[in-house]
């Protein structure tokens, strides 16, 4: 991908005084037209049955909130009109003079409002447990966050990690097996991390030592992990069910905070995996951008020759980053068997490793970006279940496609082309 102006979105929207034929102006117009079109689409929601939509915000997780949040009852017509007007207004400003640096922020806010208008329309005449959907969003995002962070760690050091799915599956298996044998979820958690690290180590050996094409190694590792875990599951776990009943982690309510209405059940009454995912984002961000080690990882991923010249051991740093990344993905894999399912089943990760890969790319190889993308993708997943309950005539498959479609749109450069680390996927040969 060429280093064209699109690669730098922060600057690309400061377009005052530019030639009207410049691509930046074209992009500004395109976003403006998009916003106006969104307003028009929003107005279509008026065609529905109308009436009122009820959003449930009560705590149904069995917590003990200070007070119960009343249901949010809104009129469909009002919400749709307000959102449409806001979107059209934003589109007008965008067309007239542009939002500059804040374009993406405005775009995101308008899209969020659009989703709310859509939900209102979908719920019209019935009720939807919004709190449950948002809570599920966070839970669904957990493996994606871990997987995407694993990708960030590996790829920042210059090793491509397609094999997140393989790390998930292996870790889910080892987590279930060891969690059952030891009857201790924490030991299972460690085993999950070890399983992910094992695949990471295989990836590192093949990519760094044998300099095999990293995309191919990734694909083959996925085939390998799928085969191995399915084989062991049917050979070992099926005849011995007691090897597949891991002790699972239980939710830990944070004192005081967990009793706040809405926010409590949303953020402060979860299992260790959820807290761990948020902590991991902070930790990886800190490790990559605030420590000497992180600087080395990034330099090795951008310009290994230069890093080597100043005495950094390129191979060692890459091994560390890739194995550590594997362990982080392993935590995400352990989530499947030690938190959500409580047993291993063949191919249970169902392509979520690829969504994690997508979250890494859409999040532009940054920990917080990955978190944001994972939350959006998790929302699409949790919404597809929620909408089935209110019987919306939109097949859940199309909502589940959203992460993949978003990723294609993003890598095609329609919304700010992501720029991978310069030496990502390029093996380093010491001279």
């Amino acid at each position: 991908m060429s280093a064209d102006l699109d690669a730098r979105p922060a600057e690309s929207t400061r377009d005052d005084g530019l030639d009207p034929t410049s691509p930046l102006v074209t992009r500004r117009r395109a976003f403006g037209i998009f916003l106006v079109a969104l307003a028009a689409v929003t107005l279509l929601f008026l065609l529905g049955e109308g009436g009122e939509a009820t959003f449930v915000l009560r705590d149904i997780t069995g917590g003990d909130p200070y007070f119960q949040m009343p249901d949010l009852v809104v009129s469909v017509g009002t919400v749709v009109l307000v959102v449409a007007i806001l979107a059209a207004f934003a589109g007008g400003i965008q067309l007239a003079r542009g939002f500059g640096r804040r374009t993406y922020l405005v775009l995101g806010l308008v899209l969020a409002l659009f989703v709310f208008a859509f939900l209102t329309w979908a719920t019209a005449g019935s009720s939807l447990n919004l709190l449950a959907i948002l809570r599920l969003t966070i839970r669904q995002a957990v493996p994606l966050v871990f997987g995407a962070l694993a990708g960030v760690l590996c790829e920042r050091s210059g090793v491509m990690n397609i094999a997140i799915e393989a790390q998930f599956l292996t870790a889910a298996f080892t987590g279930a097996l060891v969690g059952s044998v030891s009857s201790n979820a924490w030991v299972g958690l460690l085993a999950g991390a070890a399983g992910g690290a094992f695949i990471g180590w295989l990836l590192a050996v093949m990519a760094i030592k044998y300099r095999t094409d990293q995309i191919i190694v990734g694909v083959v590792l996925i085939v390998f992990a799928t085969g191995l875990t399915s084989f062991l599951a049917s050979q070992l776990l099926t005849p011995n069910p007691d090897l597949n009943t891991p002790a699972i982690v239980s939710p830990i309510g944070i004192p005081v905070l967990s009793r706040i209405p809405v926010l409590g059940p949303l953020f402060f009454n979860h299992t260790i995996f959820v807290y761990g995912a948020f902590a991991a984002v902070l930790l990886v961000h800190w490790a990559l951008f605030k420590t000497k080690w992180g600087l080395r990882v990034r330099s090795v991923g951008e310009h290994p020759r230069a890093a080597d010249t100043v005495g950094i051991n390129v191979y060692r740093i890459r091994y560390q980053a890739v194995v550590l990344g594997g362990a982080v993905a392993g935590l995400g894999g352990a989530f499947f068997t030690l938190d959500s399912a409580a047993q291993f089943s063949e191919e249970m990760t169902a392509g979520l490793g690829f969504i994690a890969l997508a979250a890494m790319i859409v999040g532009r190889w940054r920990p917080f970006g990955a978190l944001g993308a994972a939350l959006i993708f998790g929302f699409a997943g949790s919404l597809s279940g929620g909408l089935a309950i209110v019987q919306v005539p939109i097949p859940s498959e199309f909502l589940l496609m959203a992460p993949y479609l978003v990723t294609i749109v993003v890598v095609a450069g329609l919304v700010g082309r992501p720029r991978p680390p310069a030496a990502d996927g390029v093996p380093y040969v010491k001279e």
Partner: protein, 415 residues
Amino acid sequence: MSTSDDPPPEAVDEAVDERERRDEDPGWLARFRTEIVDGQTLLLTFLALVTALAIGAVLIILSEEATRETLTYFFARPGDFFAAAWETVGGAYGALFRGALGGPRAWSETLVSATPLILTGLAFALPFRALIINIGGEGQFLGGALLGGLVGFGVTGLPMVIHLPLTLLAGFLGGAIVGWVAGILKARTGAHEVITTIMLNNIMILLTDYLLLTALFQRPDRPDPISKAVAGSATLPLLFGAGFRVHWGFVLAVLVAIATWWMLERSTLGFEIKAVGHNPRAARFAGMNPDRIYWLVLAIAGGLAALGGIVQLSGVQGRITPGFAAGLGFDGITVALLGRSSPLGVIAAALLFGGLRAGGLAMQADTQISLDLVTVLQALIVIFIAAPALIRSLWHVKTRKESGLEATASGGWSA
């Protein structure tokens, strides 16, 4: 002699070798010998197979109850363990071998399993020569089954001479569209085909799940997601009558592989594909248009994988069900890598993996050892093929020619 000691990802070297070889032109038989039957390539492939089988044997021993029990008193009576291990592994691999090659029915099953693998293998091998990595075989396979199936069970009353080719053509088109999307995105916007094809795979899987519940596809008398049956006039006939499942799709796959070989080695398009794979900038300066090659090659590759889908539907399955692709698209990648991305190598590799699959099914039926072992073997073989240095150091095979390093094909997202 400029043989390729090292398998791909070495398409770059191969392209050079290719030209050197063409200068002297030793004839196709000699080329076949150096390309496929070359001593060390064959030796390394054989050793990869042996090593994978050995690791598979360890997996069998560790996972079987009977052998695991003898391990508990291994130091008291090691003989028990070796006897049990020999019996289990010998029984499993014996069943596998008989299921793959023991008798005409086993041969037929091997060919049935190899048929889609040849086509999905070509779908990876062809673009790989242009250094395009097509991970989208799975989605393209489904695209072929969906569009081809629509013609296969949606259209009735046509004679077979029209209906069957029409069905196959529609199938090809279905996958070609899916491949083309990735290709045109790469050509126009630079979006990396690995990302777009992976995403398209998942989109196609979800699209299949959705379509199977629509009136257009769903079997009318059933509530569950299963498609109508392909009409008799759109079904690939059996090769040797009702006793054997092998169908004309196998012949078609082999012919398509030969056509692909011809296109790569003898046509202008093939030359352009390899030139773009060798160096896109140089190809552009030589007056070629790499962007055109990107979408064209991915569309053709998508069509090849899709042929696998429609052939599997029309020749074996008859109906589309959820999980129809069953990893055959991904398996194509391993087939192409084992076959060193040459169409003839793909046939050989597909036969090997097809035999493993057919044998694996027999093994599962006879000894209750899971068919998934075959997937593990497949992955291991390809890992060893992709990193020949690993096999060399394991078996102390000396390099005949000092090769500097195992070059990579893709070199990153931004390539």
